[in-house]
Amino acid sequence: MLRYALLRIARALVTVSLIVSIAFVILRLSGDPAIIILGPEAPPEAFKAFRHAWGLDQPIWVQYLKYFNAIFHGDLGNSMRDGRSALEVVGERIPLTLAITIPALFLKVLIGLPAGVYAALHRNTAIDRLIMTLSVFGFTVPSFVLGLVLAMIFAVKLGWLPSGGSDTWLHAVLPIFTMGMIGAAVIARFTRSAMLEVLGQPYIRTASAKGLVWRDVVVAHALPNAAIPTLTIVGFMVGSLVAGAVVVESVFSWPGVGRLLVTAVANRDLAVVQVILLFVGFTMVLANLIVDLLYGWVDPRLRTKRLQAGT
């Protein structure tokens, strides 16, 4: 098990460094931070000094090696914009993002799971069709459209909630709701198909044949099995707690990591972008790892299979 975990982490490190490398190349090739930060009107000496200070005058592969060298020594660089440590700049935004993504995650699970289970248990009834229609709607409509529509209704027309900013907890309601609805739709659909698959299994018939009433068959025999595939999608959502709010934060002007990423990319503020990518990578990897370990816990078959596969 330990070896399995270590192997997974090593693989994840490779993935993250690939992502960071690609981001490095793209950002460097797609615009000069000096022009963007200092403005095109700045004197040539200022450009030269800026480029020298940030090492931008060196060949790109030297910059690249230096950058990775620094990371291995624990130095993630400074923001080109205000010179502060990039880690600090990103770090102060994380709580704000989590303040909307964690409640949204609860909303997704609390609505999505029961809706999916209910739809599966009442397959082909009007309620099942209603839930599935809403679900299809939920994950085909882009989050910025849903966000804007909700803002129109609750902020502009009804005036109940603010449409943007982060001053009070009321400001968090619309972003949370927007993300929650979309995630719930995804979870509902996954849960429904997982449940339907499980309900068709012979052991469900066995559970009925041994004299359990239907409710207990569902609770004690169907749900634990249906949880296994559903876990993947929930794990993925946990993994995107830090990065998953880019669009919604932009729509509602919520000053979280997502909005920071958008501005940092626009400024070609490399260090900040890289730190965010590293954070995102690590949360994804961590979530995946946790999901994998949970799998072994919920599905006893995997414990032995994994050993047989030799990974």
């Binding site: 098990m1 032995t304 050993l307 047989q308 030799g310």
Partner: protein, 333 residues
């Protein structure tokens, strides 16, 4: 005369990891562990045994679908390997396979006649589409499929009809050897009889040799000129069906036969119920693999692997049997 198929001491081992210790441990799964047999032209050898005994692996080794770990397979004097070169393809014309899972064996996007005509498209590129279709129709006729089914797709047919399609396709190029892996196991009794009779008739007409694999002793007896009983990767008894099934010698064969209830032997069969499950092919017991469940097991069985021997065609791999056979003439003196 040279046998059509000559199989010499073939083995197929797999490296696997099994639960045990903290991370599991490496183990060797011996799916097939030293098989030797011949099939003469026009002859049918029945291979019978329970799940995990290696009979399906044997089929795939004989066909060259998977590489041998050791030993050799020769088809009409040519070695069969798992290297998919032009020799292998040329040999494919002459050895064909029939499977249990007919839906998996057929391409679900091709019509029945295209399906049956496919071997011509591969091996006789000069044949026109029209000629292919005509050949397919005549093959359909010979396996008892109506011409109006030509345009149908596999999922529109019943299991028995699909197996007829698989057989027609396998016989399209008039192969010398047909390897049948559980060809009727998925079929109902009445349909099973139809397919078995069909194979019998086609064999009469075209004279192909066959390796007929089944877990069903009754079916194997019905179809075979010779049978071989497998247990954990080895042949334990082989001979003519009448000899093996009526005068079984190996304790495993005896137990297997006594375990088959039929309407005929109802209430009067000798019952030998073996205890326990067969050991996993990962943990094949040393010596005779059957000794853990054998009523006749002696000390020697735990140490030495018995070899197939006997007089004439009826061979048995069992120390207990060999010992009595040796001591019998002594007692007579």
């Amino acid at each position: 005369m040279r046998p059509l198929l000559s199989v010499r001491d073939i083995k197929r081992h797999y490296q696997v990891r099994v639960p045990g210790g903290f991370f599991g441990r490496d183990a060797l799964l011996k799916a097939v562990d030293g098989l030797t047999f011949d099939i003469k032209r026009g002859e049918t050898l029945g291979l019978v045994g329970e799940s995990g005994c290696g009979k399906s692996t044997t089929a795939r080794l004989v066909m060259g679908h998977i590489p041998l770990t050791a030993g050799s397979v020769a088809f009409d004097g040519q070695p069969v390997t798992a290297r998919h070169d032009s020799d292998w393809r040329a040999m494919r014309r002459r050895m064909q396979m029939v499977y249990q899972d007919t839906l998996g064996a057929l391409d679900r996007r091709l019509t029945i006649s295209d399906q049956i005509g496919e071997p011509f498209a591969i091996h006789e590129p000069l044949m026109t589409a029209r000629q292919r279709h005509e050949r397919a129709l005549s093959l359909m006729d010979s396996v008892g499929l109506r011409a109006d089914m030509a345009g149908r797709f596999p999922h529109e047919l019943s299991g028995g009809q699909r197996q007829r399609v698989v057989i027609a396709r396998a016989l399209a190029l008039s192969p010398d050897l047909l390897v049948c892996d559980e060809p009727v196991s998925a079929l109902d009794v009445s349909i099973q009889a139809q397919v078995l009779n069909l194979l019998d008739d086609l064999r009469e007409q075209t004279g192909f040799a066959a390796l007929f694999i089944s877990h069903d002793l009754k079916v194997v007896r019905q179809m075979s000129d010779r049978v071989a009983v497998m247990y954990l990767g080895k042949i334990v008894e082989t001979g003519a069906p009448e000899a093996v099934f009526k005068r079984a010698q190996h304790p495993y064969t005896k137990a297997l036969i006594s375990a088959i209830p039929t309407p005929r032997n109802r209430g009067r069969r000798e019952r030998i119920v073996l205890e326990g499950d067969p050991p996993s092919p990962v943990d094949v017991p040393p010596g005779c693999a059957f000794h853990t469940r054998c009523p006749l097991a002696m000390a020697q069985c735990r140490l030495d692997t018995p070899l197939l021997s006997g007089d004439g065609d009826h061979l048995v791999a069992c120390h207990a049997i060999h010992q009595t056979a040796q001591s019998a003439p002594l007692a007579a003196e």
